[in-house]
């Protein structure tokens, strides 16, 4: 009988179901094992000192964050001079209105989209679909979850939870592809299907992996080439990016492109990295005739304002923390039910979407710190999770059984004599528990030691 938000209950229910789903567990373990092998090989092969690289990257990102207002203004100035129309959106709704206005202005009937967690965050597809715009995800993983009517499972590999057979069946049902479970054939089917979309779309929508302030440019990192096509074929390009994506100068890409690739997939560098500085220039053969960048706040300034949490904005969205997290591995990405799952998601979501309904994510962690160890920009994620837990407690969002329970625990455990006094009672309770509780829970109850450390020490001293 735990009170708490509906989101909290949904999370617990979904977590229980997923944790018991062994098929799911096997798939995720396989994916993460492959990832770990690739990434450790990648780190060693490319960086002569990975720890040093992390330190440098953290410093660069934190310095950029410290100067964020100035860098954003520089970005706007340079981008505008490049022919980009820069728009600022305080929240998801404003961003959606801006993008709708752009779509209407240009008479957009069909759009193609490369992978962007920011568009997930504001639920762009749904809004555009309601407007009557045919919108296609072009990243293979995103296409798969779009066809399946699901959310992305992971911020880097959206269809990590689907087997080849499942995808084959899905493509057969939705695209009319002959039934197959060959990854080659399925990829070829997606390629053929999306070619038509690329060539006939009026609008290409992307996120931005980085925004370069001094150049007024958007940087896109990918392997498939779908972002290249999304920004090369349609007449209009809209890039939507969180305000924290800023890097000062082009030179910083020398570090950050390899860093992101290595942490994200174990590659030295991803297949296609594009620096896009505006619409087609005079003298150029092709490219969009109009380009827009939407700078999205949507709660990021709230994170920025909190000195204890602001470093979470240095995240480069590599997904390493998700893969390292034992909780993520067990419950999977969908359980979090939010655009950003996993450790970093559990830090930023409660702040961006409201502590009242999302603080439970901060408790979806054993605070093991594996996430912080792998983070390429040295974000100390588990410290921020603790911070969120504390804020939730201070705001009285924690449930009264939880509050009372902890008060009791603190009262007893901070008084050694009281603890000693209550030991026999606790021992009795511990022995009775398996008889009273449901079997599964009873089995897991820790057994009290026969003697406390104090008692053992006293005996030893005598």
């Amino acid at each position: 009988m735990i009170f708490g938000s509906q989101e909290h209950h949904q999370f617990l229910k979904a977590a229980r179901e997923k944790a018991a789903d062994h098929e799911h567990g096997k798939k995720i373990l396989k994916a993460i094992t492959n990832y770990n092998i690739a990434v450790s090989a990648g780190k060693e092969a490319q960086f002569c000192n990975w720890q040093e690289a992390r330190k440098v990257a953290a410093k660069v990102k934190q310095s950029a964050l410290a100067n964020l207002p100035e860098l954003l203004e520089t970005f706007e100035k340079k981008a505008t001079a490049n022919g980009i129309q820069v728009l600022w959106a305080e929240d998801g709704k404003e961003a959606l209105d801006q993008i709708l206005a752009i779509a209407r202005k240009h008479g957009v009937r069909k759009a193609v989209k490369s992978k962007s967690m920011t568009t997930e965050e504001i639920e762009l597809n749904h809004t555009l679909a309601q407007e009557g715009v045919e919108i296609w995800e072009t990243d293979l993983g995103e296409l798969i979850v779009q066809l399946a009517g699901e959310r992305p499972y992971h911020i880097v590999t959206p269809a990590m939870h689907k087997s080849r057979a499942e995808i084959g069946e899905l493509f057969n049902r939705t695209l009319g592809t002959p039934l197959t479970d060959s990854a080659e054939e399925l990829t070829a089917a997606a390629r053929a299907h999306l070619r038509k979309a690329f060539c006939t779309a009026d609008l290409g929508i992307t996120g931005a992996n980085f925004l370069i302030a001094e150049e007024g440019a958007v940087v896109l990192t990918e392997n498939e080439g779908n972002a290249r096509l999304t920004t090369s074929c349609p007449e209009v390009h809209v890039a939507i990016a969180g305000i924290e994506k800023i890097l000062p100068s082009l030179e910083d890409l020398e570090l950050f492109l390899p860093l992101l690739a290595t942490s994200g997939t174990g590659q030295h560098i991803t297949c296609y990295n594009s620096i896009i500085r505006g619409p087609k220039r005079a003298g150029e053969i092709d490219g969009p005739s109009a380009m827009y960048v939407v700078l999205l706040d949507n709660g990021r300034s709230r994170l920025y304002a909190d000195p204890k949490l602001r470093k979470a904005l240095t995240c480069i969205r590599c997904g390493a923390c998700l893969n390292a997290c034992p909780v993520y591995r067990t419950v999977g990405g969908h359980t979090y039910n939010t655009a950003y799952p996993g450790p970093i998601g559990s830090v930023i979501t409660p702040v961006m979407r409201g502590l009242k309904h999302w603080h439970h994510l901060a408790s979806a962690s054993s605070l093991c710190g594996a996430c912080s160890e792998v983070c390429p920009v040295e974000i100390r994620i588990q410290e921020y999770l603790l911070e969120n837990r504390w804020s939730a407690h201070q705001a009285h969002y924690t449930t009264w059984p939880w509050n009372i329970g902890f008060k009791l625990w603190a009262a007893v455990y901070s008084r050694r004599w009281l603890l000693q006094l209550l030991r026999p009672l606790m021992k009795l309770g511990s022995n009775l528990a398996p008889l009273v509780l449901p079997r599964a829970l009873g089995k897991r109850m820790p057994k009290m030691a026969k003697k406390s450390f104090t008692e053992l020490w006293r005996e030893h001293e005598q």
Binding site: W88, G225, E251, H268, I285
Partner: protein
């Protein structure tokens, strides 16, 4: 107050930062294993890395051989080519009548994307070659536009050995000062995906094959 002003206002009100002068620039190349190589070693490193990315490397001694090699590759492909309008490629065509013939029936770069997509091969030059990672560096203004290097299933790049540079830095500096381009690209191997059960498949949306004719 506009949204821009509100957002910037909130950011500026945040305290506890050490705002001010930017960090001193760290030479990023010191962080990489192959960040500091001799010229020869860099050349070898490029070749190894490029081929490691499943790029097809064709080393030739000079221009005639390059033209021959290009024709040899094209003769294995049935469909039309799409080719950048560049003096270097024009020179190759002059040296080889077979090549000239192929170029004559090239798809017009300014056609619709669907038209351009019918090409079997896209041919371009490059700004530079990144030694450390085996990457091709190019700009839309000087490499035949944005679509050329990504639409056709086979992309062939013609470049010279002396275009190999040790890091991104010199190229980034060069392009930063140039106004002609709207898109600059770093291409590292043919298109690929591992979204299906982490199985590596080539030719997801971009070219399935990437070849480099390296002169010198």
């Amino acid at each position: 107050m506009s949204s821009k002003e509100k957002i910037l206002d909130r950011l500026r009100k945040a305290t506890g930062f050490e705002r001010g002068p930017r960090l001193e620039k760290v030479p990023y190349s010191t962080l990489f294993c192959h960040g500091r190589l001799t010229r020869d070693a860099l050349g070898e490193r490029f070749k190894t890395a490029f081929q490691g990315l499943i790029g097809e490397l064709h080393e030739v001694a000079g221009w005639e051989q390059a033209a021959e090699k290009l024709l040899e590759l094209l003769n294995k492909e049935a469909g039309p080519v799409i080719c950048q309008d560049h003096p270097l490629l024009a020179r190759l065509a002059e040296l080889n009548p077979g090549l000239q013939q192929r170029f004559r029936f090239a798809v017009n770069l300014r056609s619709s994307s669907e038209e351009c997509g019918h090409a079997a091969v896209g041919i371009s030059v490059a700004d530079a070659l990144m030694g450390r990672t085996g990457s091709i560096l190019l700009r839309s203004a000087t490499a035949g536009g944005r679509r050329l290097s990504v639409l056709s299933p086979f992309h062939i790049v013609v470049a010279a050995k002396d275009q190999i540079i040790p890091a991104l830095h010199p190229w980034l500096e060069q392009i930063g000062g140039d106004d002609s381009w709207s898109m600059a690209a770093i291409i590292s191997g043919p298109s690929r995906t591992a979204d299906i059960e982490k199985i590596l498949v080539f030719g997801a949306h971009g070219p399935k094959r990437l070849a480099l004719i390296l002169i010198g």
